[in-house]
Protein backbone atom coordinates (compact mmCIF):
# COMPACT_ATOMS: atom_id res chain seq x y z
CA UNK A 1 0.00 0.00 0.00
CA UNK A 2 1.33 3.45 -0.88
CA UNK A 3 1.79 6.25 1.62
CA UNK A 4 -0.93 8.45 0.14
CA UNK A 5 -3.37 5.56 0.36
CA UNK A 6 -2.83 5.16 4.10
CA UNK A 7 -3.21 8.90 4.79
CA UNK A 8 -6.07 9.43 2.40
CA UNK A 9 -9.07 9.71 4.73
CA UNK A 10 -7.54 12.43 6.92
CA UNK A 11 -6.58 14.40 3.86
CA UNK A 12 -10.07 14.04 2.45
CA UNK A 13 -11.86 15.21 5.58
CA UNK A 14 -9.55 18.14 6.31
CA UNK A 15 -9.11 19.58 2.84
CA UNK A 16 -12.63 19.27 1.46
CA UNK A 17 -13.84 22.48 -0.13
CA UNK A 18 -16.08 23.33 -3.03
CA UNK A 19 -13.31 24.08 -5.46
CA UNK A 20 -11.68 20.76 -4.78
CA UNK A 21 -14.96 18.92 -5.17
CA UNK A 22 -15.47 20.56 -8.56
CA UNK A 23 -11.92 19.66 -9.62
CA UNK A 24 -12.62 16.12 -8.45
CA UNK A 25 -15.71 16.00 -10.66
CA UNK A 26 -13.85 17.04 -13.78
CA UNK A 27 -10.70 15.07 -13.31
CA UNK A 28 -10.89 12.46 -10.57
CA UNK A 29 -7.77 10.71 -11.81
CA UNK A 30 -5.41 13.65 -12.04
CA UNK A 31 -6.24 15.86 -9.06
CA UNK A 32 -4.70 14.92 -6.69
CA UNK A 33 -3.51 11.47 -7.68
CA UNK A 34 -4.21 9.57 -4.51
CA UNK A 35 -4.00 5.86 -3.85
CA UNK A 36 -3.60 3.67 -6.87
CA UNK A 37 -5.54 2.95 -10.02
CA UNK A 38 -8.19 0.32 -9.27
CA UNK A 39 -9.00 -2.65 -11.50
CA UNK A 40 -10.48 -1.10 -14.64
CA UNK A 41 -13.57 -3.30 -14.30
CA UNK A 42 -14.48 -1.54 -11.05
CA UNK A 43 -14.08 1.85 -12.73
CA UNK A 44 -16.27 0.76 -15.63
CA UNK A 45 -18.92 -0.56 -13.24
CA UNK A 46 -18.87 2.82 -11.48
CA UNK A 47 -19.25 4.51 -14.87
CA UNK A 48 -22.25 2.33 -15.75
CA UNK A 49 -23.86 3.17 -12.42
CA UNK A 50 -23.39 6.85 -13.26
CA UNK A 51 -25.02 6.29 -16.66
CA UNK A 52 -27.94 4.47 -15.06
CA UNK A 53 -28.48 7.48 -12.78
CA UNK A 54 -28.28 9.83 -15.76
CA UNK A 55 -30.96 7.77 -17.49
CA UNK A 56 -33.07 8.03 -14.34
CA UNK A 57 -32.60 11.79 -14.44
CA UNK A 58 -33.45 11.93 -18.14
CA UNK A 59 -36.58 9.84 -17.47
CA UNK A 60 -37.67 12.35 -14.80
CA UNK A 61 -37.05 15.23 -17.24
CA UNK A 62 -39.05 13.39 -19.91
CA UNK A 63 -41.81 12.86 -17.33
CA UNK A 64 -41.86 16.60 -16.65
CA UNK A 65 -42.12 17.44 -20.35
CA UNK A 66 -44.85 14.81 -20.79
CA UNK A 67 -46.79 16.18 -17.78
CA UNK A 68 -46.83 19.67 -19.26
CA UNK A 69 -47.91 18.46 -22.69
CA UNK A 70 -50.24 15.51 -22.19
CA UNK A 71 -51.94 15.97 -18.80
CA UNK A 72 -55.43 17.55 -18.91
CA UNK A 73 -55.87 20.69 -16.76
CA UNK A 74 -55.99 19.58 -13.09
CA UNK A 75 -58.52 20.87 -10.49
CA UNK A 76 -55.89 23.02 -8.75
CA UNK A 77 -54.53 25.87 -10.90
CA UNK A 78 -50.95 25.43 -12.08
CA UNK A 79 -50.72 22.00 -10.43
CA UNK A 80 -49.86 20.54 -13.82
CA UNK A 81 -47.13 23.10 -14.47
CA UNK A 82 -45.90 22.79 -10.88
CA UNK A 83 -45.66 19.03 -11.25
CA UNK A 84 -43.76 19.41 -14.52
CA UNK A 85 -41.26 21.87 -13.02
CA UNK A 86 -40.83 19.66 -9.92
CA UNK A 87 -39.99 16.69 -12.15
CA UNK A 88 -37.49 18.78 -14.14
CA UNK A 89 -35.86 19.95 -10.89
CA UNK A 90 -35.73 16.40 -9.58
CA UNK A 91 -34.11 15.29 -12.85
CA UNK A 92 -31.39 17.94 -12.56
CA UNK A 93 -30.70 17.04 -8.93
CA UNK A 94 -30.35 13.37 -9.93
CA UNK A 95 -27.90 14.31 -12.73
CA UNK A 96 -25.73 16.48 -10.46
CA UNK A 97 -25.75 13.96 -7.66
CA UNK A 98 -24.78 11.25 -10.17
CA UNK A 99 -21.46 13.00 -10.96
CA UNK A 100 -20.76 13.66 -7.30
CA UNK A 101 -21.38 10.04 -6.35
CA UNK A 102 -19.29 8.82 -9.30
CA UNK A 103 -16.34 11.02 -8.28
CA UNK A 104 -16.58 10.02 -4.61
CA UNK A 105 -16.78 6.32 -5.50
CA UNK A 106 -13.79 6.67 -7.84
CA UNK A 107 -11.81 8.28 -5.05
CA UNK A 108 -12.82 5.67 -2.47
CA UNK A 109 -11.74 2.91 -4.84
CA UNK A 110 -8.35 4.55 -5.39
CA UNK A 111 -7.83 4.81 -1.63
CA UNK A 112 -9.15 1.33 -0.89
CA UNK A 113 -11.82 2.78 1.40
CA UNK A 114 -15.41 1.72 1.90
CA UNK A 115 -17.57 2.87 -0.99
CA UNK A 116 -19.63 5.95 -0.06
CA UNK A 117 -23.08 5.10 1.22
CA UNK A 118 -26.01 7.27 0.30
CA UNK A 119 -29.49 8.13 1.53
CA UNK A 120 -30.31 9.60 -1.86
CA UNK A 121 -32.05 6.55 -3.42
CA UNK A 122 -34.37 6.28 -0.40
CA UNK A 123 -35.18 10.00 -0.50
CA UNK A 124 -35.81 9.90 -4.25
CA UNK A 125 -38.10 6.88 -3.84
CA UNK A 126 -40.12 8.69 -1.16
CA UNK A 127 -40.41 11.88 -3.21
CA UNK A 128 -41.57 9.94 -6.28
CA UNK A 129 -44.07 7.93 -4.19
CA UNK A 130 -45.39 11.15 -2.62
CA UNK A 131 -45.82 12.73 -6.05
CA UNK A 132 -47.67 9.68 -7.33
CA UNK A 133 -49.96 9.75 -4.26
CA UNK A 134 -50.69 13.44 -4.89
CA UNK A 135 -51.63 12.67 -8.50
CA UNK A 136 -53.88 9.78 -7.47
CA UNK A 137 -55.72 12.06 -5.04
CA UNK A 138 -56.25 14.77 -7.69
CA UNK A 139 -57.46 12.18 -10.21
CA UNK A 140 -59.93 10.83 -7.62
CA UNK A 141 -61.17 14.36 -6.81
CA UNK A 142 -61.58 14.99 -10.53
CA UNK A 143 -63.58 11.76 -10.91
CA UNK A 144 -65.78 12.52 -7.87
CA UNK A 145 -66.69 15.95 -9.29
CA UNK A 146 -68.11 14.46 -12.50
Amino acid sequence: MTKSACCGPAFWTSAVNNQQVLREWFDPEKTPTVGRTPDYRFSLANERTFLAWIRTGLALIAGGLACAQFLPPLPITFLREGLAIALLLLGSVVALRAVDHWARTERAMRLGEELPGSKFPAILAMVVALGALLLIITVLINAAKE
Binding site: R48, L51, A68, I85
Partner: protein
Protein backbone atom coordinates in the same frame (compact mmCIF):
# COMPACT_ATOMS: atom_id res chain seq x y z
CA UNK B 1 1.48 -7.76 -11.94
CA UNK B 2 -0.16 -4.86 -13.76
CA UNK B 3 0.89 -6.33 -17.10
CA UNK B 4 -0.67 -9.67 -16.24
CA UNK B 5 -3.88 -7.95 -15.17
CA UNK B 6 -3.92 -6.05 -18.45
CA UNK B 7 -3.68 -9.25 -20.43
CA UNK B 8 -6.39 -11.06 -18.44
CA UNK B 9 -9.33 -11.86 -20.68
CA UNK B 10 -12.38 -9.72 -19.91
CA UNK B 11 -14.92 -12.48 -19.40
CA UNK B 12 -17.52 -10.05 -18.05
CA UNK B 13 -17.30 -8.02 -21.28
CA UNK B 14 -17.11 -4.94 -19.06
CA UNK B 15 -15.98 -2.65 -21.88
CA UNK B 16 -18.77 -3.74 -24.18
CA UNK B 17 -21.42 -3.40 -21.47
CA UNK B 18 -20.15 0.09 -20.74
CA UNK B 19 -20.22 1.00 -24.45
CA UNK B 20 -23.83 -0.20 -24.65
CA UNK B 21 -24.74 1.74 -21.51
CA UNK B 22 -23.45 4.94 -23.19
CA UNK B 23 -25.49 4.17 -26.28
CA UNK B 24 -28.61 3.47 -24.21
CA UNK B 25 -28.19 6.77 -22.40
CA UNK B 26 -27.80 8.69 -25.68
CA UNK B 27 -31.02 7.04 -26.88
CA UNK B 28 -32.87 8.12 -23.72
CA UNK B 29 -31.63 11.63 -24.37
CA UNK B 30 -33.05 11.42 -27.91
CA UNK B 31 -36.48 10.65 -26.45
CA UNK B 32 -36.26 13.73 -24.21
CA UNK B 33 -35.17 15.89 -27.16
CA UNK B 34 -38.13 14.70 -29.23
CA UNK B 35 -40.52 15.46 -26.37
CA UNK B 36 -39.08 18.98 -26.20
CA UNK B 37 -39.53 19.39 -29.96
CA UNK B 38 -43.26 18.58 -29.90
CA UNK B 39 -44.55 21.98 -28.63
CA UNK B 40 -42.67 23.71 -31.49
CA UNK B 41 -44.33 21.43 -34.04
CA UNK B 42 -47.84 21.91 -32.61
CA UNK B 43 -47.40 25.73 -32.59
CA UNK B 44 -45.07 26.38 -35.55
CA UNK B 45 -45.40 30.16 -35.31
CA UNK B 46 -43.69 30.28 -31.91
CA UNK B 47 -40.02 31.17 -32.56
CA UNK B 48 -38.89 30.74 -28.92
CA UNK B 49 -39.99 27.13 -28.83
CA UNK B 50 -38.07 26.39 -32.01
CA UNK B 51 -34.94 27.98 -30.55
CA UNK B 52 -35.25 25.96 -27.31
CA UNK B 53 -35.81 22.75 -29.28
CA UNK B 54 -32.84 23.52 -31.54
CA UNK B 55 -30.61 24.05 -28.48
CA UNK B 56 -31.77 20.74 -27.00
CA UNK B 57 -30.98 18.93 -30.24
CA UNK B 58 -27.58 20.60 -30.32
CA UNK B 59 -26.99 19.28 -26.78
CA UNK B 60 -28.11 15.85 -27.88
CA UNK B 61 -25.63 15.89 -30.80
CA UNK B 62 -22.83 16.74 -28.34
CA UNK B 63 -23.99 13.86 -26.08
CA UNK B 64 -23.78 11.41 -28.99
CA UNK B 65 -20.31 12.75 -29.89
CA UNK B 66 -19.19 12.24 -26.27
CA UNK B 67 -20.58 8.70 -26.26
CA UNK B 68 -18.65 7.90 -29.45
CA UNK B 69 -15.47 9.42 -28.07
CA UNK B 70 -15.83 7.37 -24.91
CA UNK B 71 -16.48 4.21 -26.96
CA UNK B 72 -13.08 4.74 -28.60
CA UNK B 73 -11.42 5.03 -25.18
CA UNK B 74 -13.02 1.73 -24.23
CA UNK B 75 -11.48 -0.17 -27.14
CA UNK B 76 -7.91 0.05 -25.79
CA UNK B 77 -6.64 -2.82 -23.63
CA UNK B 78 -7.05 -2.31 -20.73
CA UNK B 79 -9.87 0.20 -21.29
CA UNK B 80 -9.10 3.74 -20.19
CA UNK B 81 -11.27 4.91 -17.26
CA UNK B 82 -13.68 7.80 -17.91
CA UNK B 83 -12.66 11.28 -16.84
CA UNK B 84 -14.08 14.49 -18.24
CA UNK B 85 -16.68 12.73 -20.35
CA UNK B 86 -18.68 11.90 -17.22
CA UNK B 87 -19.19 15.43 -15.80
CA UNK B 88 -19.65 16.79 -19.35
CA UNK B 89 -22.47 14.34 -19.91
CA UNK B 90 -24.12 15.20 -16.59
CA UNK B 91 -23.92 18.94 -17.35
CA UNK B 92 -25.62 18.31 -20.69
CA UNK B 93 -28.40 16.42 -18.88
CA UNK B 94 -28.71 19.46 -16.58
CA UNK B 95 -28.95 21.70 -19.65
CA UNK B 96 -31.76 19.45 -20.90
CA UNK B 97 -33.70 20.12 -17.69
CA UNK B 98 -33.17 23.89 -17.98
CA UNK B 99 -34.17 24.00 -21.66
CA UNK B 100 -37.13 21.73 -20.88
CA UNK B 101 -38.24 24.29 -18.29
CA UNK B 102 -37.88 26.98 -20.94
CA UNK B 103 -40.05 24.95 -23.34
CA UNK B 104 -42.75 24.64 -20.66
CA UNK B 105 -42.57 28.30 -19.65
CA UNK B 106 -42.78 29.63 -23.23
Amino acid sequence: MDDAAARTADHGAAAERTRLAWRRTALSAAAVALLALRPAITHPAHAGRWIAAALIFLGWAVMVAIAYRRARGLTSIPPRPARRTVPAFALLALAFALLGGLVIAL
